[in-house]
């Protein structure tokens, strides 16, 4: 059965590593539904978070193939219940539409959104949440006239926080024997 997986991985920040990773997924016809790249808590280590929909068997195959890449440090695969994840979205809505009725109040109270900028023509609203929440708010705002809408890729932490930290520790310990210095920030 296909299901949604979040693949989080740590890599050296070497040029080309993202291409190598996506090549593995495209060979297997797996679409990357969202992708976020950023510096991790460890200096010089990049973190990538990707969302894919595929079978359990296939996700394990591609994860081990990704982990085999020389510049990939570690890969984690999680199903949705195992992680806490957020996306962030910006909605640019016509001021006229949004000002009518009690919408503005609802935005803050019911949807936990924030107002970032107000002009006579448009208002920019920001919301973070899971995919469904962000899509829900879009539906709510649609009648007011949405001029622009963008959402980020997913970022995620696991529920068993230990897992990641433990691994970084291990890396650090392995490092003592090795030449490069590794700084762990948190």
């Amino acid at each position: 059965m296909k299901q949604e997986y979040t693949i989080s991985l740590f890599t050296e920040d070497h040029i080309g590593i993202l291409s190598r990773i996506t090549l593995i997924l495209t060979r297997r016809q797996i679409n990357i539904e969202s992708i976020t790249a950023s510096e991790s808590a460890v200096q010089g280590v990049q973190m990538l978070t990707m969302v894919v929909t595929t079978t359990p068997d296939m996700v394990n195959k591609v994860a081990t193939q990704i982990e085999k890449l020389v510049d990939v440090i570690k890969v984690f695969v999680h199903t949705s219940p195992e992680i806490i994840c957020q996306e962030i979205a910006l909605y640019k809505v016509t001021s006229r539409g949004l000002m009518s009725g009690s919408m503005i109040g609802d935005l803050v109270q019911k949807h936990h959104a924030r107002i970032l900028e107000v002009t006579p023509e448009y208002i920019v609203v920001e919301k973070s949440g899971n995919r469904a929440e962000i899509t829900d708010l879009l539906a709510v705002l649609e009648p007011c006239g949405v001029l622009q809408f963008v959402r980020s890729g997913r970022i995620a932490v696991t529920r068993q926080v230990k897992e990641l930290n433990a691994y970084l520790k291990e890396m650090e310990e392995a490092e003592r024997g090795g030449p490069e210095k590794l700084e762990v920030y948190n």
């Binding site: 050296e12 080309g16 060979r27 195959k61 982990e67 020389v70 490092e175 024997g177 030449p179």
Partner: protein
């Protein structure tokens, strides 16, 4: 051959060389010094604009670095791979930017699929021009990404030593494979303050896996309790230098051993426990009995579809133990019951004392019964055809009998390749250089010159088809120039035989573009100053082979083979390994 062992040597020399002299030299010269530090003495390659600074410096190092100028970059790549397979040390291959680099791609992919360490050095246009579609600029990094274990671009001379050190470490450690370093022309000219340190550690890459004794104990229990165990030996046995351990294991447990194409020299074929080659054109007994085995012990192999046939009907009775250094190969094609993700030699060494001594004669007899059937129906008619036209099998057998396994056997791809795999009797003394995973026609001739350049101390004999020969025959020029003593046996059936066989069997005998009008191969060899003769009658065969082997330099024997012979047995596409076709027509 043992890449792991050469890796150990690495560590010791490292101590000695870690404080190499610091001096200002050019990037091009630094590259050559790095290669020497890595123990390289032979380079295969082809020059061009972007790599000229390196070639210029090569002249100054010709006492320590021998450069073999092939006639095509693909040839250089195959030669470097064969050199690695014969010497156990990474091959090295140079090419210029643009077309030079793209001509390597087939050779890189071939080394990648067969896990052979080759360090490819390509030149790149000056760094300021990269990305502008400059003359002879091509994105070789992007192009080679799916077929290299690792690749990198260098645009500053100062980065050359560390990048080369990494390249060698990655190529030969873990599951070996090709790597590519692309060096811009300005980095070759630029000066750096040179020092070299071998690479022994990369944070994100750990090829040495801790041994899980528990798993090995479980394996021992499974083996000790099995009635019908079967060992499948692959290239990994040879790569990890585990042939002796494999033999000890098989003998102690009385376990029959079957091999993949690349695993053939991993186990002596005259040994009573050897039961043959697996897969599409493999032997009858190991294919059929794969599906009766109650335990399969797969060592350093990856369950390629040419080995397994129809996966749905593969080894239904067996539990499977997979000993494999590359974790991504485990559970990829076949679900296994016990995975041991480690180096074959380490695992077998630990496993051996836990094994109970057994003989399993009854099980082994089952193989011999089927062997008899295959002998009568296929092997005898192929190797002793009597009055008929000459068959590939009898040619291979003739060479096998004369050399007694003490040779480096090279093949191209096609029917003749399968004939060699089936009828050459490999032993501990043999090396097999063939294109397995890619099945690259044109591999044989350049690979043979690469193998012979490795000075194996035994004859290098290449079996090549008339089709594949004409894909890279320009390498006769290289053989001539360096007087490389390769012995070429051209099995000429005037057909792209393997494709013709498929057309006959699966496309109603419609021979679409498989028949060839061939040149006079003996005259062609003669044009290159290479001794040659043609054999059209069975009686001339062994004498011609004798003459060829006795000759000092290169020698070509063309043998006229029956035009429409088939390679059998065959596990037809979609069939199970137990549904082998023994006879056809």
């Amino acid at each position: 051959m043992n890449f792991i062992m050469s890796n150990d040597k690495t560590k010791t020399t490292n101590m000695k060389n870690s404080d190499s002299e610091r001096s200002q030299i050019s990037g091009a010269e630094a590259l050559l010094k790095c290669l020497i530090e890595e123990g390289v003495d032979t380079i295969f390659g082809y020059p061009g604009g972007a790599i000229m600074p390196v070639y210029d410096k090569l002249l100054d190092y010709s006492d320590r670095l021998r450069h073999i100028l092939t006639r095509h970059e693909q040839g250089a790549a195959h030669a470097a791979q064969a050199y690695a397979m014969v010497t156990g040390r990474p091959g090295v291959c140079f090419a210029t930017s643009g077309p030079g680099a793209t001509n390597l791609v087939t050779g890189i992919a071939n080394a990648f699929l067969d896990s052979v360490p080759v360090v490819f050095i390509t030149a790149q246009v000056t760094s300021g021009l990269i990305g502008t579609d400059a003359f002879q600029e091509t994105d070789i990094l992007g192009i080679s990404m799916p077929v290299t274990k690792w690749n990198a671009q260098v645009k500053k001379a100062a980065d050359i030593p560390d990048t080369i050190a990494r390249a060698f470490y990655i190529a030969r450690s873990g599951r070996p494979g090709p790597v590519l370093v692309d060096i811009s022309k300005d980095a070759q000219f630029e000066n750096l303050s040179y020092s070299y340190r071998k690479c022994t550690y990369i944070r994100s890459y750990n090829p040495v896996i801790p041994l899980h004794i528990r798993d090995i104990e479980s394996a021992a229990v499974m083996i000790n309790h099995a009635d019908k165990p079967l060992i499948l030996a692959g290239h990994g046995v040879i790569l990890s230098g585990a042939a002796d351990e494999l033999k000890a294991l098989a003998e102690k447990g009385g376990i029959p051993v079957a091999a993949t194409l690349l695993g053939l020299p991993a186990f002596p074929q005259r040994h009573r426990l050897f039961v043959g080659m697996l897969g599409m054109h493999g032997n009858y007994a190991p294919n059929v009995l794969t599906n009766q085995a109650d335990l399969i012990i797969a060592i350093g192999m990856r369950f390629d579809d040419r080995v397994t046939g129809n996966l749905k009907k593969y080894a239904p009775e067996a539990r499977i133990i997979h000993i494999e250094i590359d974790k991504a190969e485990i559970n990829k094609n076949v679900r296994v019951d016990l995975e041991i993700n480690n180096d074959a030699r380490e695992v077998l060494t630990t496993l051996l004392p836990l094994l109970r001594e057994k003989s399993r004669e009854k099980w082994i007899r089952e193989f011999r019964i089927l062997d008899r059937v295959e002998y009568e129906k296929v092997i005898r008619p192929e190797t002793e055809p009597g009055q008929d036209e000459i068959r590939m099998g009898e040619v291979v057998k003739t060479v096998s009998d004369i050399t007694e396994g003490d040779a480096v056997i090279v093949t191209d791809v096609g029917q003749h390749q399968m004939a060699v795999a089936r009828y050459y009797r490999f032993s501990e003394k043999s090396t097999l250089v063939t294109s397995g995973g890619m099945g690259t026609m044109g591999f044989g001739l350049p690979a043979s010159l690469g193998a012979a350049s490795g000075n194996p101390g035994k004859p290098v004999i290449a079996f090549i088809g008339d089709g594949g020969f004409q894909m890279t025959l320009q390498e006769l020029g290289t053989i001539m120039q360096y007087q490389i003593p390769v012995k070429i046996i051209l099995l000429n059936n005037s057909f792209l035989g393997m494709v013709r066989q498929w057309q006959e069997m699966f496309f109603n005998g419609r021979y679409a573009s498989t028949e060839m009008v061939n040149p006079d191969f003996v005259a062609l060899a003669g044009a290159y100053g290479i001794q040659a003769r043609s054999v059209t009658r069975r009686e001339e065969l062994s004498q011609a082979v004798g003459t060829m082997l006795a000759a000092e330099g290169p020698f070509l024997v063309e043998v006229a083979i029956g035009r429409e012979a088939n390679i059998l047995p065959m596990v037809e596409p979609g069939a199970s390994v137990s549904e082998v076709t023994l006879t056809y027509r």
